[in-house]
Symmetry: none
Subunit: 421 residues, 2 copies
Amino acid sequence: MKLEVVTIGDELLLGYTIDTNGAHLARELAGVGVEIVRRTTVGDGADEIAAAVREAIERTGAVITTGGLGPTSDDLTKPSIAAIFGRRMRMDEEILEKLKARWKVRGWAGGFPKSNEQQALIPEGARILTNNHGTAPGIWLEDERGRWVAMLPGVPREMRGMLADTLMPLIAERAGTGRETSVVRSRTLCTTGIGESNLADLLGDAARGPEGMPLAYLPGWEGVDLRLTARGLAAARAEEALERGTATLREKAGEWIYGEGATDLASVVLDECRARGLTIAVGESCTGGMLGARLTAIPGSSDVVLGGVIAYANSVKVAELAVRQETLDTHGAVSEETVREMAAGARARFGAAIGIAITGVAGPGGGTPEKPVGTVWLGVAADGRLEARRINTVGDRDEIRRRATQAALALALRVVRDETA
Amino acid sequence: MKLEVVTIGDELLLGYTIDTNGAHLARELAGVGVEIVRRTTVGDGADEIAAAVREAIERTGAVITTGGLGPTSDDLTKPSIAAIFGRRMRMDEEILEKLKARWKVRGWAGGFPKSNEQQALIPEGARILTNNHGTAPGIWLEDERGRWVAMLPGVPREMRGMLADTLMPLIAERAGTGRETSVVRSRTLCTTGIGESNLADLLGDAARGPEGMPLAYLPGWEGVDLRLTARGLAAARAEEALERGTATLREKAGEWIYGEGATDLASVVLDECRARGLTIAVGESCTGGMLGARLTAIPGSSDVVLGGVIAYANSVKVAELAVRQETLDTHGAVSEETVREMAAGARARFGAAIGIAITGVAGPGGGTPEKPVGTVWLGVAADGRLEARRINTVGDRDEIRRRATQAALALALRVVRDETA
């Protein structure tokens, strides 16, 4: 099954927003054997929308649009496409009531705005795609020849939710032809603390991909993700090949792999602590709360994370984390000695099992020849153990802080698992 | 002048790569008054490329393609488009020599690969766009009616370089007709604390855009950005219209506007504090360090931010922020009373001028009928002033925490500026 995507929005065409919905749709649809053959981006004008969607219907008979479903006057997707199908718009009282109820519950200021009623206007004969993540409902329109257009919101969170909840089952049903369909499947292993080319060296024969499957190296601040892709096989065969392929990768580079898929290292650390009944406290200088925010981003982190101190000023390191003034004077705030005292101090202050500390030069200013921008010390204190590590990382201030946070979590994982740091 | 962009590559259609070239082209071309009216993404197949480019030529007569110029067998952009113009391919000896010389200089292993010769194949009558950043040259093809296609590489660095060095002057020349050139210019105002439809109601007559210019509402977790766009005017006139238009928006919704362009609210708060010689300490529960991380993300924040306490566990709120156990028992951790004590406690503990506190239910668990997920209390303590505010926000855990952080900064800005909260 082939389909086209039409992406709607002036902000996309003007270059103010980068479209990520198209890529998400492609990856999700590939999983059920559906291929996107063309993607068209047009502005918010009714004529442009109508022209692009009409052409796409004529080519493939299956179209997904994203964007232009909001409450404001520039949201013209629904009436433009309804006109192609020769349908009139009607007010859906049920949706209108839901919109008003949602408005009331939230206790937003002012009455229900007139402009919001537009979101309850639905083309006649349309199927409604429920939106569990926002206000604008999605729409499925189909003609007597079975040609269809599904309209999704442009906000990525809403689009992804609606796709998973409502649209994918509908499309999978259409795509299922009784025969065994070949699929595109992939698996991703997440590594951290090792660069792309070192990984390739370590993988040896499997560097280009084990089992004849292509292997992609996807570097980011979290580390390098390894993505293995199986194409042209039936679902069960693809899964088998991926299973063998990932086993090979784990055998060769397992030490650097912390998870599979969209795994967050913070989540792995929390799970390992939870399993051992350990609690965590943090002491952060250059990251200013980012490590605490990473850990507490995970639902249920409250049974592991007690809290922490953002010790941005040196006086705070002394007063709140019991770093000795002498240590700061002799070795400086960015040093092995200071990070050790910070980690031990955070652990002691909060009575936690594990103390994690970060101090570094995040830039753009503050670098010296001995401690250039990107120099970061990480420390982890545990019962009878105190580990420190230095990284020299690259990037802008944000990237350096992200990489430092990730490296601190990687060090904590080794300490919690009682491995060599 | 209007043109279309055709983006070529299986990796884009399959969703493995996010296209950023389209946005870059749009922003650059807008500066010389050229508007992109449609962007089409197709795979590497010769037929798909030819169909998309032919349609684009027929609509606008001006097309830029990116991608498919490399040395491998799936790089079919040049022959596909040459066929549309009825041109044959010829080997360009000069380009071939350059390719070979480059190969030699780099000291790459093995002889010059046969497959690389393809990069020196050029359609007859084509103009060559020099590539100073890679091997594949770009191509400009034009027919007797003045309709043209410019083929650029897909690698962003090469594309950007070729655009700036060679293509922009050519296009600017076409776009300039002797008359003063019209441009596309826009200005963005950042609001927070008010929804899209309430903003529209507040703007009244100007809701669709003042001065006849379209107004786009761009909602995000930071708030709603208002983008005003002037089209079809000369540069000076466009700036004047934008100046008048933004003045109207400020007059009507100024209370909710915190900046212009890509302004970060954290940066505005830091600037206002710095100007008044005020320091900041934070006390964070549900955001777990995110507010501290936001503030310290700004270079130079260290002269304002002293530090903070991540008081995730209730025991930490009592021990570190002097919240009374009685307050927690009577009103709960998510309450006006608790957030007031947290803000005052953070301020006192660090000896800061301003204490900012956040406590809420970030979800997905932990909600109750009285305090559903998304209920967040914000508090700001200053000399002789203690303000608290509740918000009921929506979204997943990450979004709720981001929105809470933004709302805390907005409250802090009002207190620092000594406005009504």
